[in-house]
């Protein structure tokens, strides 16, 4: 049987090679096409990302559990070793905090009285969704997290993600059961902030390194290391006053801010709905910005 097939074979092999080469070039072109598509039509790229993440979320959820357990055990052992020093430190803290408590109580009472005098309109009450971190991704090029709660749990695009320490980032994409968070250290993160001491407005920009940069300061602004940086609430993206970080270095090269949140320790985070509509509104009213 093999004899008569040979001439066909002789033609078929080069053709097959040619097709393979075309397919290869086609794939390279497709990759470029995807990049351009992502650049031009962000919602579509975002939808693809959301669908894929949503499909893989249950797997990631299961995978991240044993890792979290191991890291908890390691933490506990480490804490046992430093129990004595930590106790002494905590005792000092307690004394200091009791003083602060007195101050806070007094201020709260004063605030209440002043609000009553001024007919102050309080901001909307915040509601929280607590979610587990199931993916810490990105490597050198993007700083994102994946959470195991999504649209069904009430997460919407543009909401702030926080921990007890401070601001983590904002929700960039929402699937039915997963959420992608852009960390404040990501290249694409620009947050309106205030330097708490001087009330100087600025923009806090990430550049894919662990340190944030304070840019767009008004001329003559005075910033010194140790100043706390909090969200300003401008642009209605985040509520004002969320702690973000502390100024670490001031030089000609720029102002570096160390974030309060330590990325590697993130296990549970809170997605906060402050009832703000935010700057991530759809440009055209027909297209929902927060759909899954």
């Amino acid at each position: 049987m093999k004899g008569p097939l040979r001439p066909v074979h002789r033609i078929a092999v080069p053709i097959k090679g040619l097709i393979q080469r075309f397919a290869y070039v086609g794939l390279v072109a497709a990759a470029f096409g995807l990049m351009l598509l992502g650049k031009a039509d962000v919602p579509l790229a975002e939808r693809i990302r959301t669908q894929v993440t949503d499909a893989l979320a249950p797997i990631l959820d299961v995978l991240s559990r044993p890792v979290a357990t191991v890291s908890d055990v390691v933490d506990q052992v480490r804490e046992l070793a430093s129990l004595h020093e930590e106790n002494a430190g905590l005792r000092e803290d307690k004394v200091r905090l009791l003083q602060w408590q007195t101050v806070a109580r007094r201020l709260e009472a004063e605030n209440k009285a002043l609000r009553a005098l001024l007919n102050f309109v309080p901001g909307p009450e915040a509601s929280y969704v607590t979610a587990r971190v199931i993916g810490d991704t990105g490597g050198a090029f993007a700083h994102t997290l994946l959470l195991n709660a999504g649209f069904r749990a009430g997460v919407r695009k543009g909401q702030a993600v926080v921990t007890g320490d401070g601001l983590v980032g904002r929700v960039a994409g929402v699937g039915n059961r997963s959420t992608r968070v852009i960390l404040i250290t990501d290249l694409n993160s620009h947050i309106p902030v205030l330097v708490e001491r001087t009330r100087t407005r600025a923009i806090l920009a990430g550049d894919n390194s662990e340190v944030l940069r304070l840019i767009r300061l008004p001329p003559g602004a005075e910033v010194s290391p140790g100043d706390r940086v909090v969200t300003s609430g401008h642009g209605d993206a985040f509520p004002p006053g969320l702690p973000v970080g502390v100024v670490a270095s001031v030089s000609d090269a720029g102002i570096g801010v160390q974030p309060f949140v330590e990325r590697s320790r993130l296990e549970y985070v809170r997605v906060v709905d402050f009832g703000l509509r935010g700057i991530l509104q759809p440009l055209f009213p027909g297209i929902p910005a927060d759909g899954p």
């Binding site: 693809i48 050198a140 550049d207």
Partner: protein
């Protein structure tokens, strides 16, 4: 004699493992490890897999599969979709064209080859992401990620070698 259905299914399952293992690596490398500073320089495990299978079993990991792996990597990690797809496809093409060089070479040579190829991959993805975002991405993390990937290579390559000897027919 025709092989039985189970026999064929078994063969198919074995032939799918290079692709499946690489997909698993993409997903596993996303799991948070809670090690300080690790996430930024986490080794690019799928790159190792693409390089390895392109040398030893390219037929079991065709270009299209490499493309799918790259797109999955992009979607999960948040890099612009297409960047890793292009880089992986590029690595695959380069390795395939040099396959004759790698044939029968010692492990050290294969590792050295990976050092060169991965450097090219890191550089091109750095350029691609920088152009995409119209800013220069901090190159330090890229360098450390490259070194980490280089360091993990022998371990993963050893696992793959054992795997292909145990479960895969030679091409």
């Amino acid at each position: 004699m025709k092989p039985s259905l189970w026999h064929r299914l078994d063969g198919l399952a074995r032939r799918l493992t290079p692709f499946a293992l690489t997909l698993v690596l993409v997903v596993v490398s996303v799991v948070p490890l809670h090690i300080p500073g690790f996430a930024r320089v986490a080794p690019l495990l799928p790159l190792i897999a693409v390089y390895h299978w392109a040398i030893y079993r390219p037929r079991l990991l065709p270009a299209f599969a490499v493309f799918v792996i790259g797109v999955l990597q992009d979607t999960l990690t948040g890099t612009p979709i297409g960047v890793n797809a292009l880089v992986f496809i590029g690595v695959y093409g380069v390795v395939l064209s040099q396959r004759r060089f790698f044939a029968g070479k010692s492990f050290a040579v294969v590792w050295l080859g990976f050092a060169v190829v991965a450097a090219g991959a890191a550089l091109s993805s750095w350029i691609l992401v920088s152009v995409y975002n119209l800013t220069l991405v901090a190159p330090r993390a890229v360098l450390f990620q490259y070194l980490m990937t280089l360091g993990v290579f022998p371990l993963l390559a050893w696992v793959f070698l054992r795997w292909q000897r145990a479960f895969l027919e030679s091409e």
